[in-house]
């Protein structure tokens, strides 16, 4: 049961190895955020600090859709797991 630097047994290992690191989270409702991961559970409920959230606001124009982004920062945030689509750890390169 040794977890080598690349070998992970289950998807949650990827998240566990990202504790105290800055992660990228893609959420339902055209939202994304980065933050430092401090806690998670099996539902993918997350607790992040130093969060920057980006909301994509798509407005359908006559010719083409325009995308506006709204950004905001939050100190400490609980994210409910059912909104999570994807979590990506910082690239280990």
């Amino acid at each position: 049961m040794d977890v080598s630097s690349t070998g992970i047994q289950e998807p949650f290992d990827l998240i566990r190895l990202s504790l105290s690191e800055r992660v990228f989270v893609k959420l339902r409702g055209d939202r994304e955020m980065t933050g430092i991961l401090h806690a998670y559970d099996g539902h993918m409920n997350l607790i992040l600090s130093d969060v920057e959230e980006t909301i994509m606001i798509v407005s359908e124009g006559e010719q083409q859709a325009t995308v506006n982004v709204a950004k905001r920062k939050m100190d400490m945030l609980f994210v409910r797991g059912d909104g999570v689509i994807l979590v990506s750890p910082p690239s280990r390169t």
């Binding site: 289950e10 998807p11 949650f12 290992d13 998240i15 979590v87 990506s88 390169t93």
Partner: protein, 95 residues
């Protein structure tokens, strides 16, 4: 007559069946470590190497590209995808 005797292995177990006859579980076991396309309910595709997955279809991918309407919109070294968003997993190379 140089007819060689019938091969002795007629009664040995048959070779493993081709992967396309296996169960869904066999398929999933077979694609771990391979290039896959994961399509989400939203229609977004993720192409990458399948590191592993669990019973909820939570997925860990490596060297992932996010494709939206045929265009690459993001790249991730590693990506965890929450299983409830997954529509299908498709093998992107020969098994």
């Amino acid at each position: 007559m140089d007819e060689s005797p019938p091969p002795p292995d007629v009664q040995s177990p048959p070779p493993p069946p081709p992967s396309h006859t296996g169960s869904p579980t066999d398929f999933l076991k077979g694609v771990v470590g391979k290039k896959v396309i994961v399509r989400l309910n939203s229609g977004v595709d993720y192409r990458g190497i399948l590191s592993c997955l669990d019973g909820y279809m939570n997925i860990a991918l490596e060297q992932t590209e996010e494709h939206v309407e045929g265009k690459i919109t993001n790249r991730y070294g590693d990506a965890f995808i929450r299983g409830n968003n997954v529509l299908y997993i498709s093998a992107a190379e020969e098994l």
